[in-house]
Symmetry: C2
Subunit: 354 residues, 2 copies
C-alpha cells in the first residue's frame, strides 16, 4: 500500500465478519471492523486515526445536533474476480465533499488525508468487500461539527469520518414516483446542490405522505413554480422521450451526481441524443399521454440505476411501458462492467486500491 | 414541586457552579449541572431521565449525523427579586417543537414529559438562575435521531433532551444587516417555518460573506424573487415606517416566533397600527430614502429585541435614525417587565415554576 500520511491505527482485537450474513444485508445497517476519523482543532486537521468501529462520545451541545452543520458523501468499493479492489471516480467524491463543506462553512479536508485514510481503511477491512455481481462496500465519508455550545455560528471543531457498510445488489421492488406539487426539497440560493445533512431529513415527511398514497419516492420540482422536474432526493432523474434522453441541468438546487454525469458521458459515447436542460412536468405528462415517454429512471451511487414503473401527478397515474433493451438497463450494465473491472475504461473512471 | 411523570434521576456529586464566572458568560457555552433526556424506542417514549451534564455516546452512523433529522427550541427562565422562577409562554415552545417534529417525521413529545422534565431540571439547577435585569437561564430542548444506519429514511430511535445555559443580557454591539439578494434560507414547501437543525447551518456561509463586508446579520428575502423581507435566521424582523409597525406574515418559510407574536400583541394593546403583511424591499428602501423609515429591529428569545443601526442593499448602505422612545426599547422593556414579574400580565404569558 502506498500512503504517506502518518496515521494512528488501533486494530480491532477480533473481526466481527464471521457474525455477518452477507446474503441478507439491509442497506447501510452493518459496518466493518474499523472506522477512520480526523479532528479539526485549533484551525488545523490533526493526525488521522483508525480505530475499531464503535460509538463516539460527544457533548449534547455539539453544533451538529442543533444546527445540522454536517455533510457527507456516498461511494462504493468493488472487488473483481481476481480479488483486486476498485473505486469509481473517487476524486469526484473528494471534490464534492469539499464543495459541500464550503457551502456549510466547514473547512475543506486535504486530498492526501482523504485518499490515504480511505486506502488504509479498505486495506484493513478488505475481507468485507465481497466479489460477485451486485456486491460492494458502501463507503460513507462525512463531517460533523463537534464544538460544544449552542450559539448559532459555525463550529470551530469538526470530525471527519469514514465508515463502511457491505452492500448487496440494491433491489427496491417496482418503483412508482410522485411528482411534487406542494412540498419542496431546495430553494434557489440554498444548499440543494450540496450533500448537506439537513437536505435529507426535510424530505422524510413529504415522502411518508407519498408512501401512504402508494408511491416509493418523490421527484422534486422547482420550489418556485413546481413546473420543472429536478431530482429524486437520493438520485438524479433521467427521462427518455422517443430516443432522446433528458435530465435537468445542475444548479444550486440539484446535486451534481457522479452516476448522473457518468450516464451523460456513456449516452454521448453511444451516440444517444442527450439533452441537459430544464424538463417540464407538462412535457413529460404530454409525452406519457402520447406514448412518446419510454422510460424514467433514477441514478445514484447506492442504487446505480433504478427504472421507474409509473409516475403520479395531480391525482393521476401514468404507467411507463416495459421496454426490451432499455436505456436504464444499458447504462446500468455499462457502469457495472466498468466498476467491476469487466470492461475497458476509456475515461479513466476506475481507481485501483492497492 | 408538582410533577406526576416517573423519572430516573441521578444527581451530580458536586456542583460546578462555583467555577462559573456569571459576569462573563459567552452565550450558550456553559451548561448547568444536569441534563434531561428521554429515548424513543420501539415506538414509544421511555421513562425520562435526569443525569449529570456530560457527553453522550452515539453510533457514528446515527441518522442525526448524516441526514440532519433534528429539531430544537429556545426558551428562557427568569428569577424575580423574590426568588421565584418564571418561564415565558412555555406551552408555545412545546407546541412548536412538536410542529417542527411533525415536519421532520419525528414523533411528538408528550406535554407532561416536557413540563415535568423542565420543572424537575429547573428545580435541581435552580441556583444557576440568577436574578437581576438581563440575567436568565437559556433552555434548549432538542430532539435528535439516534438510530444506527445510513439508509436515508426516518429514524426509529430518537433522544429528546433539555440542556440549560446561564445567560447575561445579550449585547451584540451595533447591528448592521444585509438584505439577501442571492442566497436563501428557505424554500416554499420546505422546512423554514420549523426549528429544523439544517435551517441554521445553511445560513453560516452567506452570513460569513456578509460579515466580511461589515454586516452582522442577514435579513432573508423570499427565495423566488428576493423582493420580500422575511426573517433574520435567528430572529423575526419588524419595520417601523412612520408610526406603523410592519412584519412579514407566517408562512412555510418563516418561523412563528414567540417574541414576534408577543410584540404584535403588545403593539395592538398600545394602539399602534401593526400590519402583518408582505413587506417589500422596495418599500423599505423608499421609506429609508424619504426618512419615513424610523426603525428596524429583530425579535427572538435569545436577544429579546435588537435594534438595527443600518441596512445594506445592492451595494448601498442606509442608516437608521437614532430615536428617543423607540418601539424597540418600548417593547423590550414591556417584555422584560412581564418576564421578570415586574408588571401585570394581562395575557397570562408568565408561567411560574414551582
Amino acid at each position: 500500500m502506498n500512503t504517506t500520511v502518518a496515521m494512528n491505527i488501533t486494530k480491532s482485537e477480533k473481526s466481527r465478519i464471521s457474525e455477518i450474513d452477507f446474503n441478507n444485508l439491509a442497506f447501510g445497517s452493518v459496518f466493518t471492523d474499523h472506522m477512520f476519523f480526523c479532528d479539526y482543532v485549533d484551525g488545523a486537521w490533526q493526525q488521522p486515526q483508525i480505530a475499531p468501529y464503535g460509538p463516539i462520545s460527544i457533548d449534547p451541545s455539539a453544533k451538529v445536533f442543533h444546527y445540522g452543520q454536517a455533510v457527507f458523501e456516498g461511494m462504493k468499493a468493488f472487488k473483481d474476480d481476481e480479488g483486486a479492489t476498485w473505486l469509481f471516480r473517487p476524486e469526484e467524491n473528494w471534490e464534492r465533499i469539499n464543495k459541500s463543506s464550503d457551502r456549510l462553512a466547514i473547512p475543506e479536508f486535504p486530498k492526501e488525508y482523504f485518499f490515504d485514510g480511505l486506502k488504509t481503511l479498505l486495506h484493513l477491512d478488505n475481507e468485507w468487500i465481497k466479489s460477485g455481481d451486485g456486491n460492494s462496500l458502501y463507503i460513507r465519508p462525512f463531517v460533523i461539527a463537534t464544538q460544544s455550545g449552542v450559539s448559532a455560528s459555525p463550529s470551530d471543531r469538526y470530525r471527519f469520518m469514514i465508515i463502511c457498510a457491505p452492500a448487496q445488489a440494491y433491489y427496491s421492488g417496482e418503483v412508482s414516483v410522485l411528482f411534487a406539487e406542494k412540498y419542496s426539497r431546495a430553494a434557489d440560493g440554498g444548499v440543494g446542490f450540496a450533500k448537506a445533512a439537513g437536505n435529507y431529513a426535510s424530505q422524510f415527511y413529504p415522502t411518508n405522505l407519498a408512501k401512504e398514497k402508494g408511491y416509493q419516492q418523490i421527484v422534486w420540482t422547482d420550489a418556485s413554480t413546481h413546473e420543472y422536474l429536478e431530482e429524486a432526493g437520493t438520485m438524479n432523474v433521467f427521462f427518455r422521450v422517443g430516443n432522446t434522453l433528458l435530465t435537468a441541468p445542475n444548479n444550486d438546487r440539484i446535486l451534481d451526481g457522479i452516476t448522473r454525469k457518468s450516464i451523460i458521458q456513456l449516452a454521448k459515447d453511444a451516440g444517444i441524443d442527450v439533452q441537459v436542460r430544464r424538463v417540464s412536468v407538462s412535457e413529460i405528462v404530454t409525452a406519457a399521454t402520447s406514448g412518446e415517454l419510454k422510460e424514467i429512471f433514477g441514478a445514484g451511487t447506492a442504487a446505480v440505476v433504478v427504472p421507474f414503473k409509473s409516475f403520479g401527478y395531480q391525482e393521476k397515474d401514468y404507467d411507463l411501458p416495459s421496454i426490451e433493451d432499455s436505456y436504464a438497463s444499458k447504462f446500468k450494465k455499462a457502469l457495472k462492467d466498468i466498476q467491476y473491472n469487466r470492461a475497458s475504461d476509456p475515461h479513466g473512471w476506475r481507481y485501483e486500491v492497492k
